[in-house]
């Protein structure tokens, strides 16, 4: 839960129209920016975030360092695509903005999205990195899109700016995965014990409840893991990223709503049921019966619903079906 002043630098060059990250690099970047800003402000309420654009006529600070998430997200939405990025000027402007932060106790950090070719040479980047390290600015780089051209230069930059593992370089190859999810699992959005972000609220008021919640959540996670592994084996090495996506989605929901998490988990289980082509689910009534069990437990957790009544209704429907079948047989 570090106290940080973070400047997020967006790549808004023409290369971001490319669709190799669905739906386009720019959209994937926007999602990722929302995620990063939210996590920085949530991990420590006194942390400040700023947004700047790297391309266009000149790099420009769109939102100055602020603790209000809504301002930051609003500024990030307004970014327009044009021109080419100017990485070194961006870094210098970011450093200047960080130098003039209100609260000197915040550790300065720059997070840069690089999705277009860098025009600086390796030597220039190394000089820039040394200056940043000297002024103890940590730099996280998300390298995506043009990784064949940039990885070499960015690795040289990263090696010189990294001080005590405070900086990170994340290289994301193109593929069907979602940029935000990859970032979520990387150390860029890592708050140590940040999985159960809202846990500390419970721990203050009711430690027993917090303990119970934590245990049940962990059990749920383990069950998820087992299910995922079973599903992977059956699908013959299905992309782990989609499974990771699902588990990370449920992780986010666990924090807010355990009931919702349960419902999601159940729907995942029913998905698994659909995926399994074998077993005995050719008989529609048997499938309906199994679904009913899961439905019942879901409905039980919802207030104001009487599962018994529904069960009776369904049974009546089934009886009618059976009657019809008997008639047909006759």
């Amino acid at each position: 839960m570090a106290l940080e002043a973070t400047i997020v630098c967006l790549d808004n060059s023409e290369w971001m129209r490319n669709g190799d990250f669905a739906p386009s690099r720019a959209e994937a970047q926007k999602d990722a920016v929302n995620l990063i800003c939210a996590s920085k402000t949530q991990s420590n309420p006194e942390s400040a975030v700023a947004i700047m654009s790297m391309a266009g006529k000149t790099p420009e600070v769109l939102v100055t360092l602020t603790q209000e998430l809504s301002k930051v997200l609003g500024g990030a939405q307004e970014v327009k695509i044009s021109g080419k990025i100017d990485f070194s000027t961006t870094m210098q402007i970011a450093q200047l903005a960080l130098r003039h932060r209100q609260n000197k106790h915040q550790h300065p950090r720059i997070i840069a999205f690089v999705g277009s070719p860098l025009k600086e040479t390796k030597e220039e980047l190394i000089q820039l990195a040394k200056r940043l390290k000297k002024n103890s600015v940590a730099v996280d780089i998300i390298n995506f899109g043009e990784i064949t051209e940039n990885t070499d230069k960015l690795e040289a930059f990263f090696n010189d700016v990294n001080n005590n593992d405070e900086s990170h370089l994340l290289t994301v190859p193109p593929g069907p995965h979602i940029l935000s999810d990859i970032i979520l699992q990387s150390p860029i959005v890592d708050e140590g014990s940040g999985q159960f972000g809202s846990e500390f609220i419970n721990a203050d008021t009711d430690p027993d409840l917090a303990m119970a919640l934590k245990l049940s959540l962990e059990e749920e996670k383990q069950r998820q893991e087992r299910e995922r592994k079973a599903r992977e084996e059956q699908n013959g090495g299905a992309p782990t990223t989609t499974a990771a996506t699902e588990s990370s989605n449920t992780d986010v929901n666990f924090e807010e709503d355990p009931e919702l998490a349960e419902a999601l988990a159940l729907s995942l289980a029913t998905d698994k049921m659909d995926v399994q082509p074998s077993t005995d689910s050719q008989d529609p009534s048997a499938e309906a019966f199994k679904d009913q069990d899961f439905l019942n437990s879901t409905l039980n957790s919802l207030p104001g619903v009487d599962p018994n009544r529904i069960k009776n209704e369904l049974e009546n429907l089934e009886k009618k079906d059976e009657d019809k079948k008997d008639e047909e047989k006759k």
Partner: protein, 201 residues
């Protein structure tokens, strides 16, 4: 070994008075270009521990160091002692800036320093560098900049001692005391003609 340079003295017999170190909150001291994060906080030792070589500050890639010391209260600095490392890693020059918390390597050239000293290699803490009183009065933030050393690729500092006067004048706006249940006995007022009435309470 006295030399004729008036800016420092070789007799440090009032070492025990290097008491500003006691009043400094080392937790808020920051350093730019240090190799180990927060190692700067361990070099503001007490006078007795000044020879302890276990804790020191070393610069990272080159020999420059900037140390920012915010004081909790208005302070007057009288003199400074620096114990550097051997083998050329002791700093050879010191520039001090007051009341500016914005200094980093990018803009240090644009500020005029309050005072500048040429340092000598001192492993005993025997040399104290005196500060011009007019410049170092009423100071609440001190920045020390060591631009060069005696030849080593990195600079090492084992001890920094500050001598001065620590006033209790805190830079606070309001000094408030909150009472959940005010007690009359805590607020002794003089009974006299101006006093309206105690019986109302």
């Amino acid at each position: 070994m006295a030399c004729n340079d008036p800016s420092h003295s070789h007799t440090v017999d009032d070492g025990i008075e290097y008491s500003l170190n006691r009043f400094i909150d080392t937790g808020v001291i920051t350093c730019l270009n240090e190799k180990v994060k927060n190692s700067v906080q361990s070099i503001f030792k007490s006078w007795e521990d000044r020879h302890d070589t276990k804790y020191f500050l070393e610069s990272c890639d080159d020999e420059e160091l900037i140390i920012n010391i915010p004081f909790g209260a208005v302070t007057q600095l009288k003199s400074i002692i620096i114990i550097g490392g051997d083998g050329g890693s002791a700093p050879s020059k010191l520039k001090a800036y007051t009341n500016n918390s914005n200094i980093d390597f990018g803009n240090i050239g644009s500020f005029t320093c309050a005072q500048e000293w040429n340092l000598h290699e001192d492993f005993e803490g025997a040399i104290s560098y005196s500060c011009k009183p007019t410049k170092f009065n009423n100071m609440n933030h001190l920045t020390l900049y060591f631009p060069t050393n005696f030849g080593s690729p990195t600079t090492k500092i084992y001890y920094i001692g500050l001598k001065g006067v620590y006033t209790n004048a805190r830079r606070e706006i309001v000094n408030t005391v909150y009472e959940a249940k005010p007690q009359i006995s805590d607020h002794k007022a003089d009974s006299g003609a101006n006093f309206v009435s105690r019986d109302l309470m």
